[in-house]
């Protein structure tokens, strides 16, 4: 198998010119003009692992290169704090909240410890997610702007947890959500910042055809026949068994293969059970490739997505769905469920196909396999859609715009 070179050096803004064009990059610099030396503090709960840390690790250097004085702080806490915030996370997604009543006091005590430790004196303070939300207590009479960036879906939160957090959120100057569907009715302005991918990361950068061919060979996938792929954890909400059923319908008409690649089966008992259900549904079909990949498989996933004829995301419930973004970026035609943030990305019949059932999913796949020119057009337009809205540079642009807007005193 040909090894793909790893990206080791820190990326610079000019590295994005081949992707975005010189005009877009020079306009980012123009927008940043009035923000030279302005101070920004980003605060979240982890420096590595997880989507927020991944985004900040790219966003902060880009904003710094643009002349904004950004500081990135990570809050600390004991196991008890993170157990509580994990329970918050699940409850905010609609689950029950079983922690004892004193959990709220523990949460606030750790926030208070961090408030004493952190500077929190920037002109723009951006607090990410619920874990550090009570740092707003540090605001006092300080004149800076405070923004709460919520990366999770708050459409159906547990009322106990949201009832506790909401008064803190309402004290910010604004809140940022990843999709209108994920927002709450608040008295403060709410802004829409889409999640983003880095086109130059290992998961998304261009790969040599030889490397892709080597990955397919390694997994025993035939490059000459259509490949349908869903990349996601082995989780019932991703409906992998539904994907197998859709594939079985398509298989009656097309000699195709199915790749279900993801993680979560090794360290999650539920994931293991789902994986078993998937294998049962596949009925020893040698054209169904179920790949339980470790977390460090970014290049392999990149290769599988690029080798796919069609990428599927048949989720029953979804956050924003960054695996869809990744597939669109790679110009793959996508068939996906109309849930969560997916319809924002998959504009039906323009950047992909939406479906609402197993049969609908199978029909859209058959349609695209029968109409490769349409599939190609969808892939091309999907790529453009991501280029305009869902790249890390778009995120930098949104932050610059927000800071300019707040600087002009129009954020109230």
């Amino acid at each position: 198998m040909t090894a793909a070179p790893r990206v080791t050096r820190l990326l610079r803004l000019d590295d994005y010119i081949p992707v975005l064009g010189a005009a877009e990059v020079s306009e980012l610099r123009a927008l940043a003009g009035r923000l030279q030396g302005r101070t920004v503090e980003m605060v979240n709960s982890t420096s590595v692992g997880g989507g927020v840390a991944e985004i900040l690790s790219r966003l902060v250097p880009l904003l710094e290169e643009l002349g904004v004085a950004v500081r990135w702080d990570v809050i600390t806490g004991g196991n008890d704090f993170f157990e509580i915030t994990k329970a918050f996370h699940n409850a905010l997604h609609g689950g029950p909240y079983d922690m004892p009543p004193q959990s709220f006091e523990i949460f606030l005590a750790y926030n208070e410890q961090n408030r004493a430790r952190l500077q929190l004196e920037a002109e723009f303070t951006v607090i990410h997610d619920p874990q550090p939300v009570a740092l707003i207590n540090a605001r006092g009479n300080h004149a800076g702007n405070w923004i709460w960036r919520c990366h999770i879906d708050l459409s159906r939160p547990n009322t106990t947890v949201w009832g506790f957090l909401e008064p803190y959120v309402q004290r910010y100057d604004g809140a940022i959500f990843s999709s209108p569907e994920f927002s709450r009715q608040l008295s403060i302005p709410q802004y829409l910042f889409y999640p983003c991918i880095d086109p130059l990361s290992e998961k998304n950068r261009e790969l040599e055809p030889e490397y892709i061919a080597g990955i397919l060979e390694g997994f025993g996938i035939d490059p000459k026949r259509p490949v349908l792929t869903q990349i996601s954890r082995f989780d019932r909400l991703k409906d992998p068994v539904g994907v197998v059923r859709a594939y079985q319908i398509v298989k009656r008409y097309f000699d195709c293969q199915l790749v279900l690649a993801g993680g979560g089966a090794a360290d999650d008992p539920e994931g293991g059970r789902v994986l078993e259900e998937v294998r049962q549904a596949a009925q020893d079909d040698s054209d169904v490739h179920v790949l339980d990949l470790p977390p460090w498989s970014a290049l392999e996933i990149n290769a599988l997505q690029r080798a796919s004829t069609i990428v599927i995301q048949k989720s029953l419930r979804e956050g924003f769905g960054l695996t869809v973004t990744e597939a669109l970026w790679k110009k793959r035609p996508v068939v996906a469920s109309a849930v969560g943030g997916i319809p924002t990305q998959v504009i039906h019949k323009h950047t992909g196909m939406l479906s609402h059932s197993v049969e609908g999913c199978a029909y859209q796949i058959r349609f695209l396999l029968s109409n490769p020119a349409i599939a190609e057009r969808l892939g091309e337009q999907g790529h453009q859609h991501v280029r305009e809205h869902f790249l890390i540079t778009s995120s930098a642009r949104r932050y610059l715009t927000l800071f300019l807007h707040l600087l002009d005193g129009r954020g109230a």
Binding site: G21, A22, A23, E24, S26, E27, A30, L31, G33, R34, F177, P180, E181, S183, Q185, L186, P189, Q190, Y191, L192, A338, P343, I347, H348, K349, H350, T351, L354, H356, Q381, Q384, H385, E388, H389, R397, R398, L400, T401, L402, L404, H405, D408, R410
Partner: protein
């Protein structure tokens, strides 16, 4: 070489999306939302939406039409909403009135369909515009061409499409300056006729550059 009395100032615009507290579940709600939403919201879902989706050159016109098609499965109504050309409007209020009339007529004629729940809700949002001078100005057609070539999609959309609302005129920033400052009325008209619905922004920009090149060569 003609030199303008006033230079053309190239500007970049960037947009923040503000999520409103208003959402719709069906076509009846949409009619109500069109009536109650802010002008910034109508702007966002029409003028702004065209800019955000400029790379779709077949059948995409505005967010309302797309939602009616994809979430309500009403292609006839979607087609009517999509047929509105934002270049015909110099005031958002007029565009709102026409959108409302189309939806109201459909709901009157199809009361049952109007109450049917959509697959997904429609959320009204608003565009907040922040504009920044690019520090590029043109006194001559040659300089104008150089500046035009350097524009991003957002800047081009700002000068060519959003400008109609700002100017309250059936024209765009480029054409206004070319006619008013360089006396190039014919070129100004040809530029204004470039169809933004059937061209991507890159395509429209390329056509504009070709027209300017032709003028420079004449």
């Amino acid at each position: 070489m003609r030199v303008a009395e006033q230079p053309f100032q190239f500007v970049t615009a960037s947009y923040l999306t503000r999520i409103g507290n208003q959402k719709t579940h069906n076509l009846t709600d949409l009619g109500r939302g069109l009536e109650e939403s802010s002008e910034a919201s109508i702007f966002y879902h029409t003028f702004q939406s065209l800019g955000r989706h400029h790379f779709l050159t077949e059948g995409f016109s505005n967010d309302f039409a797309q939602w009616v098609l994809a979430a309500c499965n009403r292609p006839g109504l979607a087609e009517q909403l999509a047929s509105l050309d934002i270049r015909d409007y110099i005031a958002v209020g007029d565009l709102r009135r026409d959108l409302q009339n189309i939806v109201a007529a459909y709901c009157d004629a199809h009361p049952e369909e109007a109450r049917q729940a959509a697959f997904e809700d429609f959320f009204f949002c608003e565009a907040i515009e922040v504009s920044v001078p690019l520090g590029i100005e043109a006194w001559t057609l040659e300089e104008f061409r150089r500046g035009l070539e350097m524009l991003s999609h957002a800047s081009f959309h700002f000068h060519f499409i959003s400008s109609r609302l700002r100017l309250q005129l059936h024209t765009n920033d480029f054409s206004l300056w070319l006619a008013g400052n360089l006396g190039l009325e014919s070129l100004a008209k040809r530029l204004d006729r470039i169809d933004i619905y059937t061209n991507t922004i890159e395509g429209a920009q390329a056509k504009m550059l070709a027209l300017v090149d032709k003028e420079l060569a004449s």
